[in-house]
Amino acid sequence: MMRPLVFLLLLALLGGIVQEQSNRLQQRPTILKLGPVPHAGLVRATTGEHLTALSFRTVISVMFYFGSFFEKHTNRMQDAPEYLSMYNHLKHAVQLDPYNVDAYYFAEAAFTWELGRAKEVNSLLDYGMKYRTWDYQLPFFAGFNAAYFLKDYATAARYMQLAAERSNNPLFTKLAARYFHESGQSAMGLAFLDTMEKGAKSDRVRQIYHQRKEALLAVNAIESALEEFQMRYQQLPESLSELVTKGLFDEIPSDPYGGKFYLAADGKVRSSSKFVMQSLENEKKPVDTE
């Protein structure tokens, strides 16, 4: 009679201890939750062929740690997780296995929008690009970060160029060309588009590249005329139509995307189409941007 009672008592005691233990473990500081970051060289030397599994485990523990914040606060984080520790663990994970795409993807998701650490994420992505030579997503992420967060269009264009070369996706080509234009490197954009057009297998894709190239050529021509105008009159024209009245152009080149070129306030040549194909309705609307 006593034995089952003692057994049940022990079970109940264990239940209580487990509950208390779980509460305490959840309150542990990050250094204990994620653990200190061990020296990558030492880990590499001692874990042999288990590096990929260990790298996977490191990323998963960071993801779980980060996810626990959302769970607690129903999709709204009150306490900020320790991003530096998370970043160091992700860096450690890619030092163990530089091919681990989860680490790059998670860094892109967690450190750019939330913290604006695009520069650090791009350095991590740069590391991954050296190994994942087939992967177009890493240069795409880095290109997006450079353009959207860092406003560094020249770097963004280079990343998008790499993404385009790896994927053969016209979208990346368009983005690269646009960023080349934004950074004032239209000539480089033209050379890039020319290469992509020649290498395209499908007629449709070739046509897309051609259209983008035509747009950039037009921009290039207008920019040259603007330079000429500035040399002659020591100032920029008020609108592009002044280039025609002063005899630098017979007419302003047309935008193959259906828009109309204009001189923006920052002195750059832009188009009302933003180099995106216009619908018929839009084409009919008068453009009053000059």
């Binding site: 874990t47 062929e49 288990h50 990929t52 599994a53 998963i60 091919y99 087939w134």
Partner: protein, 266 residues
């Protein structure tokens, strides 16, 4: 009593060993859990499942190789099995070689089962989130093959220590030490032969280099990263690793036979 009889006897005795049944049970559980763990991955379920399956298999083979090798000779001596079997027309050399071949055959069978089981769970895991890159099946099976070579070599080392010892503890821990040192030797060697090694005392450097050449280099058998991400494998390197395993294992086995021949048996 021939060598073939000894091989068959060894294989039979291993297959009926309850401890090994338990280890194999754990192996099945590990492999079955691969799709569960790999599903936590965000973008590389396929790659994670391959990595975890290879790691699980490697871990099981490590336990089997050290357990079987470290207990193989000393246990037979302890049970006085050698006293009776060596009265038959079977030399001590044939006894050790027979046991080694029987145990290697068991490791081969286990690797085949683990590889097939892993292939099934990888296929299942991949079906939930297919990767843009196809599975490099040939590289995957090559990775299982090189793992097998590595653990056969490790088992030979464990058998060598077992022929010297009168207990399980010494050969087990010595084998484990060789395994850890052999896995780290390449990294250490590259470290000391680099610019950082110039600051080390010349004596220590020479000693480390000598140890590097003496210890088995297990890094050359590691094809896990290539199998996980479908990277190119240099078949020349694999052939060299095969040759290295055969030669190194033969030397260790020869040393084990010499030691066993000189040993006084009860």
């Amino acid at each position: 009593m021939t060598l073939i009889n000894q091989v068959t006897l060894t294989l039979r005795s291993v297959l009926s060993d309850r401890i090994l049944h338990a280890i194999c049970g754990v192996a099945v559980l590990l492999v079955v859990l691969v799709p569960v763990f790999s599903s936590f991955s965000m973008r590389q379920v396929q790659e994670s499942s391959i990595g975890l399956a290879l790691s699980a298999s490697s871990l099981v083979l490590l336990v089997l190789a050290t357990q079987l090798g470290a207990s193989s000779v000393f246990r037979e001596v302890d049970r006085r099995y050698t006293s009776s079997v060596l009265t038959l027309p079977l030399s001590r050399g044939e006894f050790v070689a027979g046991r080694f071949l029987g145990l290697s055959l068991f490791l081969l069978l286990t690797t085949i089962i683990l590889a097939c089981g892993s292939a099934l769970v990888i296929l299942y895991a991949t079906s939930t989130y297919p990767s843009a890159r196809p599975i490099a099946w040939l590289t995957l099976f090559l990775a299982f093959g090189t793992d097998l070579l590595k653990y056969i070599l490790l088992m030979a080392i464990a058998m060598f220590f077992s022929t010297l010892s009168t207990s399980f503890t010494l050969p087990f821990f010595c084998t484990l030490a060789v395994y850890l040192a052999g896995s780290a030797s390449q990294e250490v060697f590259e470290y000391i032969t680099g610019s950082l090694g110039d600051q080390m005392p010349a004596m220590l450097r020479t000693l480390t280099e000598l140890t590097y050449y003496l210890l088995p280099n297990f890094s050359s058998f590691d094809l896990h990263v290539q199998a996980v991400y479908g990277l190119d494998v240099n078949l020349g390197d694999v052939a060299l690793s095969l040759l290295y395993a055969v030669v190194y294992t033969s030397i260790v086995l020869w040393a084990a036979i010499v030691c066993f021949k000189r040993r006084e048996l009860p």
